[in-house]
Symmetry: C2
Subunit: 79 residues, 2 copies
């Protein structure tokens, strides 16, 4: 139960940041390295999830991958 | 193996952002809501880790809690 709430919070934590960069196109104080590491790391979590066939891992990391991917794209586009 | 690399990447992804905010004190484009959710979510992951006695979960989330906590403190201090 605590684990599920934890998973939901850390998965959707990227959402306020996505909303902010999409609205403002301001990514000045965001570290590029953070989102490069996040996107690669989350892609590997996803691969791991498929490998062990774990649905919660696949679902949570699909959402995180999408959200942090959007932030990375905005960071690369609007430096 | 893929899971371990994934864990290391997503855990230490916060580090470039910590270095950036500590150096520049610039947190303008960082969403407060993201780090509020991260810090609470990671604290719950940590609680879950202690509950099920899983050392990797405890170690990874201790590091993430510290790093995202620093970003949250800087965001609150230098708006």
């Amino acid at each position: 139960m605590i684990g599920s709430i934890a998973a939901i919070l850390t998965t959707f934590a990227f959402l306020p940041q996505v909303v902010r960069v999409v609205k403002t196109k301001d990514t000045e104080s965001i570290a590029l390295g953070m989102y490069v590491m996040q996107v690669i790391g989350i892609a590997l979590w996803l691969a791991h999830g498929f490998h062990i066939g774990d649905l919660p891992l696949i679902l949570a990391n699909s959402v995180s991958f999408l959200l942090s991917g959007i932030i990375l794209i905005y960071k690369l586009k609007y430096k």
